[in-house]
């Protein structure tokens, strides 16, 4: 399988099963439309008005050479890896701790419904937090690197417990041969110098929630009284980003139908001095006025392309910043195993609610039918884990035939469930945006290869 597209003057060919990326000229690009579909004589016939016989012959020679070198039309050899993955010892190596089912903002698009997750306002106790750490150590088997995300709601509303959990985990990691990495997500309202200092000393990564331009942010990210949050959080986020030397953090925004010109929000965040930026499409029920619909896709595609070109222009001027969804590593990247199974939700990665219930991930928290156990009992619903184990790209018919499967890993299972009521039918609008982002990311690599 190959995927070919042109963007920003580049003709790009991706060999799906080897991961090879080729920048080609227009002759090869056109010949590839006919290659393998007809014999060489007919290719000459079809293209002779546009190219000389010699040009077509050269193109065919080079294509044949790539095929022989297993860099074009490569066979898919990875499906056989799936049984090997499924035979691995089932482990849990990452937890999303819902440290607070409460929030001091009322963001209109929040899937957690003011942080409550279909339930009541609740804070995690230190006792539950310690049990979660004990569960993770026990359930992680031989894995050494363990991740704990402090999530909410707003985690800073229960910060003493965050500190207590970190202290406890650090006190038991060495004797158990583990290495904990902590991350935290915050809306910034409660950030102060003391908390920043603690985060800088203890958090491997920090996600700072802001949507971009003031009018965009303050339309969706509001306090209980309706006031916006932009003016309060921007100076604090700028200070935190600088104090971390512009690494180990992201400012993360959500774009909606109301700001399909989200590239301006990315640039606004860059102009504020942030160097690690993510602005991502909202996923919402189609009845919401801010939900993205299929009809919005052409505008979104244009915006992604415009953003990619703008990023290239800025980099030429030495104004570098990282846009998360255009990150791609064409020379290393994740191993095939990781690409096939994705984020690990429901298997290696679980969410823990304030009262200690276990769910496949934070997006499933509060849905009783997905409760897998508790921090006391461990996983008592192996059937749920089995269902999530099947969420690999070869078990999803739409993904199996898709050129992007080794880059998106099958997409978000929660989005599948929220859209289709099952775990394996992908959320189509998300797929289309993901494919466009991959095309943009590869185009940026192509342009940068010309330096």
């Amino acid at each position: 399988m190959i995927h070919k597209y042109s963007m920003n003057g580049y003709f790009i060919v991706l060999d799906v099963n080897s991961g090879a990326v080729h920048i080609v000229d227009e002759v090869v690009y056109d010949v590839l439309d006919q290659y393998k579909k007809t014999d060489e004589e007919k290719i000459y016939d079809k293209l002779r008005d546009k190219y000389s016989h010699e040009q077509i012959a050269e193109a065919l020679d080079e294509i044949n050479e790539l095929v022989e070198s297993k860099m074009l039309f490569t066979e898919d050899i990875y499906e056989d890896i799936i049984p090997l993955i499924n035979r691995r010892e089932p482990v849990v190596k990452a937890l999303c701790l819902h440290i607070a089912h409460d929030c001091n903002l009322k963001c209109r698009y929040c899937f957690a419904e003011e942080g409550e997750y279909h339930g009541k306002r609740e804070l995690m106790s230190l006792d539950v937090g310690k049990k979660a750490i004990d569960f993770l150590i026990k359930a992680s088997g031989k894995r050494k690197n363990l991740e704990v995300d402090f999530f909410g709601g707003e985690p800073l509303m229960n910060f003493d417990v965050v500190k207590g959990i970190v202290e406890y985990a650090r006190s038991v990691e060495k004797e158990n041969g583990k290495n904990f990495r902590f991350t935290i997500t915050t809306n910034g309202i409660l950030l102060n110098d003391e908390i920043m200092d603690y985060i800088n000393k203890n958090m491997h990564n920090v996600v700072l929630s802001i949507d971009g331009r003031k009018e965009v942010n303050d339309r969706m990210r509001v306090r209980a009284g309706g006031q916006g949050s932009y003016d309060s959080i921007v100076p604090k986020f700028q200070k935190l980003a600088e104090s971390r030397n512009q690494t180990g953090y992201y400012v993360r925004g959500t774009f909606t139908k109301h700001n399909l010109d989200f590239g301006k929000d990315v640039m606004h965040l860059a102009d504020l001095g942030f160097r690690q930026i993510s602005v991502e499409p909202v996923v919402a029920d189609s009845s919401e006025d801010y939900a993205i619909s299929e009809g919005d896709l052409p505008v979104i595609f244009e915006e992604y392309e415009r953003l990619a070109k703008e990023i290239l222009e800025r980099r030429k001027k030495g104004q570098w910043f990282n846009f998360f969804h255009f990150m791609i590593d064409l020379t290393g990247g994740p191993c095939v195993t990781k690409r096939l199974v994705g984020c690990g939700s429901g298997t290696e990665y679980l969410a823990v609610t304030p009262n200690g219930d276990l769910y496949p991930c934070h997006q499933f928290a509060g849905r009783e039918e997905f409760k897998m156990g508790t921090v006391d009992t461990g996983v008592v619903r192996p059937d749920i884990r089995k269902a999530f184990e099947k969420c690999n790209v070869y078990n999803k018919p739409e993904c199996k035939k898709c050129w992007a499967k080794f880059y998106c890993s099958g997409g978000c299972t929660a989005n599948s469930f929220n859209t289709h009521g099952d775990l394996i039918t992908p959320y189509e609008i998300g797929c289309e945006m993901q494919k466009k982002r991959i095309e943009c990311a590869i185009m940026i690599k192509a342009a940068e290869s010309e330096k």
């Binding site: 050899i77 190596k93 990495r181 191993c335």
Partner: protein
């Protein structure tokens, strides 16, 4: 090649799968 520039050349199969990478397209140190 005159008509093609190749940027890179998945076939990580032998070395991958240790499960130690961070777990909701970056390089793996192991690979």
């Amino acid at each position: 090649m005159k008509h093609v520039k190749t940027l890179n050349t998945l076939q990580t199969v032998a070395k991958g799968g240790c499960g130690e990478c961070q777990t909701c397209n970056q390089a793996c140190e192991n690979v």
